[in-house]
């Protein structure tokens, strides 16, 4: 039974059904935004340091904070909160839609009545 049935198992790389496919797609978007921001900001700071030494990093400030402090210490936690809120809003809407869909599927409309 092993391999033949395991091929039917849903997973992150092989989502099954509309609900799971949609959920995995949004998770991939959120994780991409998460990863790009974390690695991107550090690469940005690293390249500034390597290419322009301290001159640019000293001059580039936001609210008096050196740009790398602001990006990592202030903006990234805020970005994580935004990602969480976006994910929750999407999940809330998606769960309402899928519930409505399943109700439409399950409840037989009375004859002559609109769905």
């Amino acid at each position: 039974m092993g391999e033949a049935s395991s091929e039917r198992d849903p997973g992150f790389l092989t989502p099954h059904g509309a609900t799971m496919r949609a959920e995995v797609r949004v998770i991939k978007y959120i994780l991409s935004g998460w990863l790009i921001a974390i690695v991107g900001f550090q690469l940005f700071a690293y390249l500034l340091e390597v290419n322009y030494s301290e001159l640019l990093l000293t001059d580039l400030t936001f609210f008096n904070l050196p740009i790398q402090f602001w990006l990592s210490g202030q903006l990234l936690p805020l970005w994580f909160i935004i990602l969480c809120v976006l994910f929750n809003i999407w999940m809330d809407r998606h769960s309402v839609q899928s519930r409505e869909g399943s109700l439409r599927f399950r409840i037989k409309p009375v004859s002559g009545e609109d769905e």
Partner: protein, 509 residues
Amino acid sequence: MAYGMLQLVPIIIVGAMFALFIISGLRNRSNQASQYRFIGSYTGRVGIGAGIACNWMSAASFLGLAGVFYLKGYFAMAYVVGWTGGYVLLLVLMATQIRRFGKFTTPDFVGFRYESDAARTLAALISIVISIIYCVAQFRGIALLVSWLLGIDYIPAVVVGTILFVSYVVVSGALGVVRNLKLQYFVLIITFILPLMLLTRKLGYFWILPQFGYGAAIGELQQQFDFNWSDPFGATTLYEWLALCFTLMFGTAGLPHVLSRFYMVPGIRDARWGVAWGLFFIALIYWSAPAYGVLARLFEARNGISLNMTGADAADMIALSAAGLGGLPLWVVGILAAGGLSAAFSASAGLLMSGSASFSYDLYPRLIRPGVSERDKVVAAKGFFLVLAAIVMLLTFQPWGMIAEIAAFAFAVAGNTIFPAFLLGIWWPRANATGVISGMMAGLCISFAPLFIGNSLPFISQAIPFTSSAFIGAPLVIIIMVCASLLTAPPSAAIRHFIRREVHDCPEN
């Protein structure tokens, strides 16, 4: 800041704060019939968020982070990003699904998902190890604060701190105190941010939002004292930064006492929104913590005090030192100490209770006394709580790093063991008991390798520093789990059907 003498005013403030928590907990008990007891009660999504944040806040957040900033500058941002970014992983990959499994502890989840008592026992042992390591960080914080409050040396302070902590838990338990997590979070955040506002106001900076105001101190350090903060990767490498950051994120999504919050929330939607609120409350602390490290540097520079790079104790107490050096009244330093002590007590209580529950419900009835009654399990849990406290106390006599570094090691262990077990358990139904046992064993080896063989093989401690091993370790453990699972029989059809239908809501094939 004066050491070696009794700090009467701060002691009174600390006592008053703990009395407030106990009285509020007793009122809670009479107002509601809660089964959560000392673990805490909460209502609504904001309440769940406050519970998550309160559960999270520890000596590492309250004291340790400022200390790392003080010593290592921008490198400490890896802690801020790691300890907040992990919640995104937790939310999108685990929070909803864990709730759908309907299990109440990490060993419960592992035992049910992988259908293996051996995997469950191993998960229980790992939970206990993580609790002990994380608690050493808390006990170190408690000892440093007690040492300052009572004017005694570090080692006696460890003993006195342990006695105070155990007494607090026993008294709270005996009185049936139900923790009011919203109140506790509110008090903790006030005790952390109020002194910072007063400090920045005194310096003439933008004090309404001290999280931004401390930028002026960085400028002053640069211009007047030639102290350079604009060199993010000067002392460390980009690899070290990313390795620590990702280790902390994987660990956040794998810490048993963090995961346990999601087993008990009323609904899936509440669990998700609770994470978002919790992250906001946690971020309030992390937006502020760097300021203490920077301001302490500024005050020292103004007073002509040179930086002591080897003074881990001084660095871990830097939040209080900053308040003292800034000339704030003793009662303000006192409320900062009270907040730190409360965070450390609360985190330690949660961790040791989680550890003792793992022992009494997973190890004791399976390995020591099969068929033991529920009453005996409760007695065993209480006894093991004391044993764990004693073990942690002994380890705290000679800790292996600063508060934040010890905590980071606990995160590395969780990231190398529990995180891959949960991740594949939820998202890959083919993962089986052999896979998870091999993976968790490999994760333990990877976590402890830098400590035990790092000296003889320096390459190991450079590639996988003990605080940052999950960056390489977690993907490696996932590969091991996948290979071991594919080479052995798949899990039962029942559990795979459960994952397909109940966890991922997939249609029947």
